[in-house]
Structures are given as structure tokens and as C-alpha cells.
Symmetry: C2
Subunit: 448 residues, 2 copies
């Protein structure tokens, strides 16, 4: 890597936080390096659309290099940061070559480090559930969920045993936050509309979609009135909600729930369980916390100060889903794109002030612009603080905000057309079962 006299900013992660931090430094006299394990920025709020065949992966992902091609002070590195050394002010990066022949190990030094590496699924200590109940964080997760859901209908079509067929046509989504609500709504629509005429032996309409939530209402971060509207809509499109219930066991052919109220248990026979219940900071968070002498929270997040740095380490910022940051009422900030975006811009501003010899006088404050969640075709809920509403107009707002935010990408026009087409026809043309072959082949190879 070429070296200059300019100060070096390393950004770990090309998600919403990292991207906005880099962007806000575009005119600063620094050398910015964005490091990500993937070569694309992923628009995670729409990942459930890929998982249910509504959109293609490329519709919601943009190559990080093309986002920064015109920002001359930024370079992009495809690799995984495995460790931070706060004393030496370096990070260790592992880059895997094509064909996985060799791993190139690099040590890069920084003047400022922005860690925006995000979160991954958390199974609350039950990691054995991961293989049975995949979560939805990456494009590969989305393809895997799409494969499992579609393959379950295919298997039901040829299943002679009616009990087993019912198992195959039962889908359990664990977690009633935005992802769980969107996913269960989309699967229900898939079975009731898109697949309606596709099969000859089964009636996809009879598929059961069960949404399990530990709290007494779905979308618990919204106002109760909106949660109840969402529940009514979910019920209308055929989603069965099991509230105040938590999962005690997940096996390949069944899930067991326990109800908080009376401790009673219920077993659901199913072949498809999807996990939308919990996330935790990526493992790098733990390494970073250890190296800087702080302790991660229960959710694997790194505690930070008002200026978003780690206590005692003014050159290390942590932002986005990996940061444990409190809002005005001492509540932890939600893990949403808006928080990461605002933190990214704040950190960029702080570094620019420091370059001028000043310090950022104001601690970070999250300005909540409102929340949106979609339930299905024509139905969403919106909480703008001063105004709460639901229904078609909330859905239009949700659509508009998402397409406008995708403007950073080149493919918003395509998404709009795909959506318009899907809306008019109930079609989900991207419902492909892929990766079955290659994965099989790779697995065989590794057994040799």
C-alpha cells in the first residue's frame, strides 16, 4: 500500500455506518481505507424481499468500490479485520485469494479507527439451533431461506403422508420485530397469492405461518396502537401469532414454545423454522473490548462514550450495531440504519474538527426521524413521533423512503419496476432455488 504524510483513517465495515463515515470525510485531508469482508454494501432493510423471491440480490447490493470510485482519498480493501492493536495503532487484516489458495495477512496502521462491523445472529447460547433455523443477515442467508421455503412446498407436493405434508407446509418465524413481521407476512402472501396456481396435489393456501414473539405484542418498539394494527393485518393475511411465548427447543421436525403467562408448553410440527429473534455484535467486538480494557454487553456490543469513542482510546470510534450507545432517556439506541448513518456522519465531523486542532464539543445525539414497518402488500405502519398512521399510505411512504434511500445505488429504477410488476401481478419472479448443486459438490470435495 502506498504511504503518504496524510493521517490515516481506517473504517472497518462498509455498511450504513462505515459508508457515511467515509463519505463525510470526502473533502478531508486524510487517507481513508474502508475494509469489508464483502465487496458490496448491502441494503439490509430489504433483505427479506430477497428471501421471499421478490427482489434479486443485486437490487439491494452495490459494489463498495463503485460507491467510492470518485472519492479520491478513499480506498477499499476486501478482507476481514481479525484484530485491533490499540497500542501499536494497527489492525490485522486477512485477505483470501481467489480459489482460496492463500490468505494474505496485512497489518495496517491508523491514526483514527472507526469500527462499524455490525452484528450477527444470536441464538442466546443455543448455537445448535443455527443449522435448523437460519437467520437473515446476509445475501447467502436470504438465498438459503428462499431455498428452504420453496423446497418445502416442492416436497409437500410429492408427500403421500398427510401428517408429514402438514409439517412441510408449516412455517415458523421466531421473533416479532420488523424482520420477523416482514418475513412472515411475505411467506403468507407467497403461499396465498404467488404460488396459488402452481401446484397440482397441494393447496399452498393451506400453508400455516406461525410468528412467535416473546413480548405481548409484535413490533414492541412501536406504539401499542400501531402494534395492534399490525397484528390485525397479520391475522387478515393468515399469520398465526403466538405472543408472550419463547422457544425452548428447535429440532429438525418440531419447535417447542413455552408461554410466559402459565408456563404451559406447545409443540409445533414443522420442517422450516426461521430465526429473526436476536442479534449480537460480531466477534471482533469482543477482541476490541479485551484489547481496550472494556467489557462487551450481554449482546456482544462495545460500550462507548458520548463522543462514540472507547473510554481511554480517543482514536477508536465504534458505531452502528456493534456499539452500545444510550439515547436521551438512557434507553439503548435501536439497531437501525438511521442510528448508524447519523453516527457515521458525527464521527466524520469529529475527525475533521480534530484535524483543525479542535475537539467536537457536543456528544452524539440521535435524532429520531420516525419508524416504519411493512406487513405486506399495501399495509405498513408509520410512527413519525408527531403522527402515527397505518395502512396503504404508510405502505406508500415505506416504499417511497426505501426507493429514495436506494438512490445511493444505481438500481433504484429497476427495483421500482420490479416492485410495480410484483404489485400488479402478485408475482415473485426471483423465486429460484439455487446453490443446491454447488454446495453439494463443495461438501463432497471437502470430505475427500
Amino acid at each position: 500500500m502506498n504511504s503518504t504524510n496524510r493521517k490515516k483513517v481506517i473504517i472497518v465495515g462498509g455498511g450504513f455506518g462505515g459508508m457515511h463515515a467515509a463519505r463525510s470525510l470526502r473533502r478531508a485531508d486524510v487517507e481513508v481505507t474502508i475494509i469489508d469482508r464483502r465487496n458490496f454494501h448491502l441494503f439490509q432493510p430489504l433483505l427479506y424481499q430477497v428471501a421471499t423471491g421478490g427482489l434479486s440480490p443485486a437490487n439491494i447490493a452495490a459494489p463498495i468500490r463503485s460507491i467510492f470510485r470518485r472519492q479520491k482519498n478513499a480506498k477499499v480493501l476486501l478482507g476481514e479485520v481479525v484484530a485491533v492493536d490499540p497500542k501499536q495503532k494497527t489492525v490485522e487484516v486477512h485477505c483470501t485469494e481467489p480459489g482460496e489458495l492463500e490468505t494474505q495477512k496485512l497489518t495496517l496502521s491508523y491514526d483514527w479507527l472507526i469500527v462499524a462491523a455490525g452484528a450477527t445472529h444470536s441464538y442466546f447460547g443455543n448455537d445448535q439451533w443455527e443449522n435448523i433455523a437460519p437467520g437473515l443477515k446476509t445475501l447467502e442467508d436470504a438465498a438459503e431461506i428462499r431455498r428452504r421455503v420453496l423446497a418445502a412446498f416442492e416436497a409437500a407436493e410429492i408427500e403421500p403422508d398427510s401428517k408429514h405434508r402438514d409439517e412441510l407446509l408449516t412455517f415458523v418465524v421466531v421473533g416479532g420485530g420488523p424482520t420477523g413481521v416482514e418475513l412472515s407476512g411475505a411467506i403468507s402472501e407467497l403461499s396465498r397469492h404467488t404460488l396459488l396456481h402452481d401446484f397440482r396435489n397441494i393447496n399452498p393456501e393451506l400453508a400455516k405461518v406461525i410468528l412467535v414473539e416473546g413480548q405481548d405484542r409484535v413490533l414492541a418498539t412501536f406504539a401499542p396502537s400501531l402494534s395492534h394494527k399490525a397484528e390485525a393485518s397479520l391475522k387478515k393475511i393468515g399469520v398465526d401469532m403466538q405472543l408472550s411465548a419463547y422457544v425452548t427447543s428447535i429440532l429438525p421436525d418440531r419447535v417447542t414454545l413455552k408461554f410466559k403467562s402459565d408456563g404451559s408448553e406447545k409443540t409445533i410440527a414443522t420442517r422450516t423454522v426461521l430465526w429473526a429473534a436476536g442479534v449480537a455484535g460480531v466477534p471482533l467486538g469482543k477482541q476490541l473490548a479485551n484489547a481496550t480494557g472494556v467489557s462487551v454487553t450481554r449482546g456482544g456490543r462495545v460500550p462507548i462514550q458520548g463522543d462514540l469513542t472507547i473510554d481511554g482510546h480517543p482514536a477508536i470510534f465504534v458505531i452502528g450495531d456493534l456499539a452500545s450507545c444510550e439515547g436521551k432517556d438512557s434507553q439503548p439506541l435501536p439497531g437501525v440504519a438511521q442510528v448508524a448513518i447519523q453516527q457515521g456522519s458525527y464521527v466524520g465531523r469529529s475527525i475533521k474538527l480534530q484535524l483543525k486542532g479542535k475537539s467536537n464539543p457536543k456528544p452524539f445525539r440521535y435524532s429520531d426521524k420516525g419508524s416504519l414497518a411493512t406487513i405486506g402488500r399495501s399495509m405498513a405502519i408509520a410512527d413519525l413521533g408527531f403522527l402515527k398512521f397505518s395502512g396503504f399510505f404508510a405502505w406508500m411512504l415505506w416504499l417511497f423512503v426505501h426507493i429514495a434511500t436506494l438512490a445511493a445505488f444505481s438500481n433504484r429504477v429497476l427495483v421500482f419496476f420490479q416492485w410495480a410488476g410484483n404489485y400488479l401481478t402478485y408475482n415473485r419472479s426471483a423465486r429460484l432455488i439455487t446453490n443446491t448443486e454447488r454446495i453439494g459438490r463443495e461438501s463432497c470435495e471437502s470430505e475427500k
Copy 2:
């Protein structure tokens, strides 16, 4: 499966041949079952666009079930036909359940069998080359090629050693037929235009794309004048052609060629080799030939008679890439969509005549509507028999024919917009490196 008194037609393979055979039987009083290992029909002529990031998989694939949802006499089965029993008139199908828990084995009986199972890569007995030099037959292949090509640029960006960097920036495409020409042209354009401003340490324009062809000209099935126009265009966009040369060895870091003229050898240091040199009938062809007492050709194809049935087995048709069929000048018919489509319709007609107690009086005759091949942006060659031309108008014709043929799918509008966008901006927004994570995870699991 429900049974009726209607005669049963089983179609193995939902490609061009199988799809058109099923379609031509839509008003016939038969029960049609289309069996395919994948849940989608793939528009293979555009697969190279997915491999080079120009299109998304869903743009060139359509769920087979949605193609046949309105054809009430057709049902679709997701599974692999592993054997045909011509005496019992049955096929054995293996269907894998979601989560690969169990394989369901079905035996289905037929009155007529149409085998349209297609072809796969052939490494001419050098199967050890497959892992180093992937071919381009499936969506997974396309994603793998896309991953390797993009990952090579990423690795070159961080490679300090200039010799190794040159290896990473050298791409070898083996086979100068339409696929090899399209692929090498697209990789060259990717490096010279799309990626031009994306990197900081390397100049993607310096990437070398080498096309190796055994005959003395590329696109040897076209007229020599068109081949030479194609060669001039390839040279102009930076593709280095090695003609009259065949590959004698492929290793992870180099390829050795031998020239037919003087037997001299040449070694090219490269990390990315793509195989577009040969195809052969799928393994089912061999089982079918054995069971019916015929011998497959050297290319693994099943020899058929003028009525497209196997000698002595009037109820078994073989069509498309798996069939060895001679044209009017005793030349084997080319492995293109047009042949499969016309054969599919011919077989449908034959069965309808037999239902009326007649036999099809005329043997199959291929009506060649002309050939098209594209080399790159604005450049294609067209051979319509009575008219041969090349350049921008050939490219427009190529674009028009492909978008019109995609009309069977719902997504031709999307493809048109994506293409228009790509053309205007040189962008290839689908250049995602995916599947790295999940494949790694699956491989680990299978080692346990």
C-alpha cells in the same frame, strides 16, 4: 400422484426442448409431467452476462411452475431422474427434501417419454481440471465465475509482488465458440471500462484476457468472413487470441498450450482459467443408452432416428443437447436452443398424431433460422444464410432477438432497462462476490 385414464407423457428436463414439448401438448388429452432437478427454466444464452455481473440470475431464469401454471394437463416435479426402465416403461426419480433430511424415491410410469436432459461440461477426460477451470452451464457456475474474476482483481489490488500481480490479472478462456467469445469479450470490457476507476493500486486496464481455440479461427460454425470480423473486434477490445492451440495442462497457477502447427508449447501464468471448450450429454444419457441397447457417441449423446426416437423404442424420444441427430448434410446438428425448440414441438406433434391413431409421416428437419453471436458492446455477428453482417446492427438484432425470446418470462422489461442502463454507463451493478461464506460453512459441517 393421482392417476387418470389419460395417457401419460413424462418429460425429463425443463430446458428449451422440454418446455416446448410440454407446451405443444397443452391441448392434447394426455397427462404431462415435467421433471427437472431445478425449479426454474434457465435462459442459457445469457448466462455469460450473469457471470460478468451484467444481469442478475432472476433476469434469465423463470420458475417452471409459473410457466405451466395455466396449463392444466401439466404438472411439475422437482427431482432428478436417475434411471429409465424401457421394459416396465417407468422412470426412477430422486427428490431431495428441504434440509436434505431424506431423499424421496418415486417410480413413475409413462406411455411416452421425452428425454431432454441436456449437456454438461466435458473436460475430454481431464476431470481434474474442473475445479481449477469452471465451466458455464448453471447459475451456480455463473456466480462462481463472477466470484473468481472479481476476486482476482481484489487480490491483485493488495499484491505487492509484481510477478504474482500479473498472474492475478491474467484471465484465460478456453474455447472460442459463442460462449468463450462472449465471456472473453465481457471480461475485457469489465476491466477496461466498468472497473476502470475502482482500484487505487492496480490499473484494471492492464488485465490480459487470452482466448484459446483449437481451430484456426473463432466461432468456427460461422462463415470464415464473420469469424475474421469477430477476431478483429476481439483484438480491438483487448482480447489476445491463441488459435490452433489446445490445452495440455491446467494447474492452479498456470496453463500450458500446444500449437498444432509446429507442436511448440507455451505456458501462461494465470490464476483464473474458464472452460468453454466442450460439452457432453448428461450421465442419464449413458444409462438410457445401456437400457435401450444403443451406444452413446463420443460426446455422451444418444443416437436417435429421424423421428427422434431411440431405435426399437418408439415410445422414447430424445431431444436437444442430449440427442445425437444429423442434419441435411449429415453434419450433427449444433447444440443451440433453436434445435431443441423445434425438436420439442415436433415430438409434441408426433404424440398428438399417435393419439389419433396416426403416425408422423415426416422425419424431423431442422430449419436453420440463422445464427447470432455477440462480441461486446455494440458488436455482434449475424449469419441469416441469405445475409451475413456484423457490427452495431447485428448487435441490435442480437439484443432484440434475446429480449423477444425472454418474452416467455415475465422479466423482459427489467432486462431491457438493466441493459439500457449498462450500455449508457458501462456499469455492471450485479458484480457481487457471493456464496463465499455459506459454502465455507457447509464445507466445515460436512467435515464433522
